[in-house]
């Protein structure tokens, strides 16, 4: 990266050209303005509007009236909301841990050189590019208790048939399996980027000192890729909290409400019951949950001393 900022560049030009009419540092704001307008229209306006709606009693097709904090208080005493919050946190925790583990293992493998590496890496990345709804439909067929291929595979190794997404006790782990299948590649790519920036020398001296492979990983690789693991974890947390397509396409929150996350409950409130005011309050609280969790993770990242290794 160049060390010269536009301001510095401007100063240099002045120095060179002396007292002559001087060109100012280039003005970059016009480049940003169109994007700011679009962001304002498509992102900031909806937020302002959502905040306003959340303090109103408003079901589509009926008249609207000011409600103050009513929707928020209703949220606090809504058992279905607390249940959906619990589902969201369980789903998110599992959907972060599993892809983090498999993604890191995959990155360590793909960091090495072996035949057909490029092709295999390409296939490995495909799940995250596949259309989630299409993927979800095929998984639904695979999860089918009688005709599904998964129960057949289990029967081959002597495990009894499961009900997967059709049973309240197994629905969340089953959905997490799909989420893990789809998003492990993203973790792999981020960690792979981290591994590429790890210098060779410490490993050579560790080799000479007789450190085994596990010790090298634990005391050299792991600390050096820690910032990248944190980034992967933050992104995965945000995406898992917001997960919608897979859950909606496979279970719509069912059976019953066993897999209803906040996002699904929010969708049902706003677009099945058309309770716009209550749905907006839920959207606000949901956003606060996401920002709070991301912020906690970011704080953890700041505290990690290895942050400076990134050079940013």
């Amino acid at each position: 990266m160049s060390a010269t900022t536009p301001e510095q560049a401007g100063v240099t030009i002045e120095a060179v050209e002396g007292s002559q009419p001087v060109r100012l540092a280039p003005n970059y704001w016009p480049f940003v303005v169109p994007a700011l307008v679009v962001v304002g229209a498509v992102i900031v306006f909806p937020w302002a509007f959502t905040l306003w709606m959340s303090v109103n009693r408003w079901t589509l097709g009926q008249s609207r009236s000011f409600a103050g904090m009513e929707n928020y208080l209703r949220l606090a005493s809504d058992p279905r909301f607390w249940e959906s919050l619990w589902h969201t946190l369980t789903y998110t925790f599992l959907s972060v841990v599993a892809p983090m583990f498999f993604g890191t293992v995959a990155a360590l493998i793909f960091d090495a050189k072996f035949p057909l590496r490029g092709l295999l890496r390409g296939v490995f990345v495909m799940p995250m590019m596949a259309t989630p709804v299409a993927v979800a439909l095929v998984w639904t067929m695979m999860f089918h208790p009688q005709l599904g291929v998964l129960n057949y595979l289990l029967s081959l190794i002597g495990i009894p048939a499961q009900e997967w997404i059709f049973n309240a006790n197994t629905v969340i782990p089953s959905l997490v399996a799909v989420e893990t299948w789809q998003w492990t590649p993203l973790v792999m790519l981020i960690v792979l980027g981290g591994l590429a920036s790890v210098p060779r020398e410490p490993f050579e001296s560790a080799e000479i000192d007789g450190a085994n492979a596990w010790q090298q990983f634990r005391y050299l690789t792991l600390p050096m890729i820690a910032p990248f693991l944190m980034i992967a974890m933050i992104i995965r947390t945000i995406d898992a909290l917001k997960s919608f397509d897979i859950i909606y396409a496979m279970t719509q929150g069912g059976p019953g409400t066993a897999s209803e996350t906040i996002n699904i409950y929010l969708y049902n409130t706003a677009f099945s019951y058309y309770d716009i005011g209550y749905g907006s309050a839920m959207a606000v609280v949901f956003f606060i949950v996401i920002v709070a969790l991301s912020f906690i993770l970011l704080m953890l990242r700041q505290r990690s001393q290895w942050i400076d290794q990134e050079g940013k």
Binding site: M126, A134, S280
Partner: protein, 273 residues
Amino acid sequence: MSSRLLNQIGLFFAALVIVSPAILFFLWMISLSLKFEIDNGAYPPILVPEHLAWSNYAKVFEENNFLLYFWNSVLVTGTATLLALLIGVPAGYGIARLKAERSAVVIMIARMTPGLSYLIPLFLLFQWIGILGTLWPQIIIHLVVTVPIVVWVMIGYFETTPMELEEAANIDGASSWQVFRLVALPIAKPGIVVAFILSIIFSWNNFVFGVVLASRETRTLPVAVYNMLSYEQVSWGPLAAAALVVTLPVLVLTLFAQRQIVAGLTAGAVKGG
């Protein structure tokens, strides 16, 4: 030397194991889509049937209007991506040169915001303006997906392109716009390709916006395939064929542009913290 070879073979098989869920899934998807109902209901399951049911694909296009929905998807994704490039590439340039870290935070917040919270107000807005029956609501709301991707990738790209040429052009009296168009933009072509591909993929795959905003004639492919499940008699062959038709374009794009995608996602994501 032979231990090195053994090591390589070991790594190859380890990679094969970790890739196998992806391989097996897509193989099974293809198998489902090419089997008649009787083979899809067979136990034990059949991977390669005696008779291939190409008619499943014909059914998808003939009975489910998929040509229209395919065209809708192309229009929505194409327009939203082109608009995003038009405003996102200059924005990425401006932010990178201004070193405006706060703008990057705005983009990050856009990523944190659940899509549904845009949907309620914009749904009402589109209703009031009276454009709900057209493709425009979907094109506009897809900008929420495409603009942040393009800006994000381009910030990362412009930060790594050298400043010296731009400074030289600047001293020679070129305006900011000329510097951007004639110096910075040509160098940034590979970055634009990455932004273009990623924007296409994530806009194409989007489901939640369409499920709320699309009417019968304005459905995109992900919504259309989901509706097949809920309203038609569920038969697995045509459903799997439809799922494959929806996702095939992005999968092909992924295989062909693997290198760019990997580079873009790695760089973009790493800056994402």
